[in-house]
Amino acid sequence: MSRSEGPVGMDLLETSDVSLLDTVDHLLNQGLVVSGEVIIGLAGIDLIYLRLSAVLCAADRVLPPEPAD
């Protein structure tokens, strides 16, 4: 069996292993995510690092409820 070195996407076109596709789905689409990062740059220089997952939370879970009118 030949093994190519390219990204999984290329490999998949030659395989008939359904289970491999599920492996890819589980590891790339599912599973616990703790990182949520984006690096934004200009002219090839990284300038801003966003780590959103550590600060995102539903407001109605952290803020006191508003008084009824």
Binding site: V8, D22, H26, L28, G31, L32, V33, S35, S53, A54
Partner: protein, 224 residues
């Protein structure tokens, strides 16, 4: 390229054997973050997402899932430069991670791909002002993306064996969607037998089932 700390899983309970090695052959260790326990490794460089690496990580997750009473496998690529970074990310989510660990305790995942024709979408009477109708339409879209009424006859038969279900609708040609089922380990055989007998109830639709897997689809949502 520098070494990274790589997260394989969040776990609960004592391991019933040695943790073994990670995807780069590195030793795995149990690290505590507040009340949470994680299995970490330190590969020499960030792993590349190729077939062998993904299969290797699944093999690690499976081996670990057999060692712990409760385990949540991490997605590929969950890495950090140091433990402090993981602390900052994990501790605020301790409650939902602990709840997810409770849910998956003692269970395995079955992954079902559903093929065939979609059921027609029921027509809806628009109600309320334009803003309310807009949100109602978005709500219906969101609900539909997480529903597969087409396999309800199957669900009836499988329900006694399910602790939980997650559904993703795709509507991609004849691939209708995917159902992820959380099944208590001792009931796996009964689940598979029921699945085999029940496929005929689906009016020509077909299922491709794989598993058992570690419970990838039952980790808590990353975005609230």
């Amino acid at each position: 390229m520098s070494p990274v700390l790589y997260l394989y899983a969040m776990v609960d309970g004592e391991p019933s054997g040695p943790l073994g090695e990670g995807i780069a052959g590195e030793p795995l260790c149990l690290v505590r973050f507040g009340d949470l326990w994680a299995v970490l490794g330190n590969p020499a460089a960030p792993p590349r997402p190729d077939r062998e690496t993904l299969q290797a990580q699944d093999a690690v997750a499976r081996r670990l899932a057999d060692l712990f009473p409760a385990l949540l496998p991490a997605r590929f690529g969950e890495q950090a430069p140091d433990e402090a970074t993981f602390t900052a990310r994990l501790v605020p989510r301790a409650g939902e991670i602990a709840a997810a660990l409770e849910l998956v305790r003692g269970c395995v995942q079955m992954t079902l791909r559903v093929f065939g024709d979609p059921e027609p979408v029921p027509a809806v009477e628009p109600e309320g002002g334009p803003g309310a109708r807009y949100l109602a339409a978005r709500l219906r879209e969101a609900a539909r993306s997480r529903s597969l009424p087409e396999i309800e006859p199957l669900r009836e038969v499988l329900r006694p064996f399910l602790r939980a279900e997650k559904v993703r609708r795709h509507d991609a040609g004849r691939l209708l969607g995917t159902a992820y089922h959380l099944v208590p380990r001792p009931r796996t055989g009964a689940y598979l037998a029921a699945l085999e007998h029940a496929e005929g109830r689906l009016a020509g639709r077909r299922i491709a089932a794989t598993g058992p897997w570690p419970p990838y689809a039952f980790a808590p949502e990353a975005v609230p």
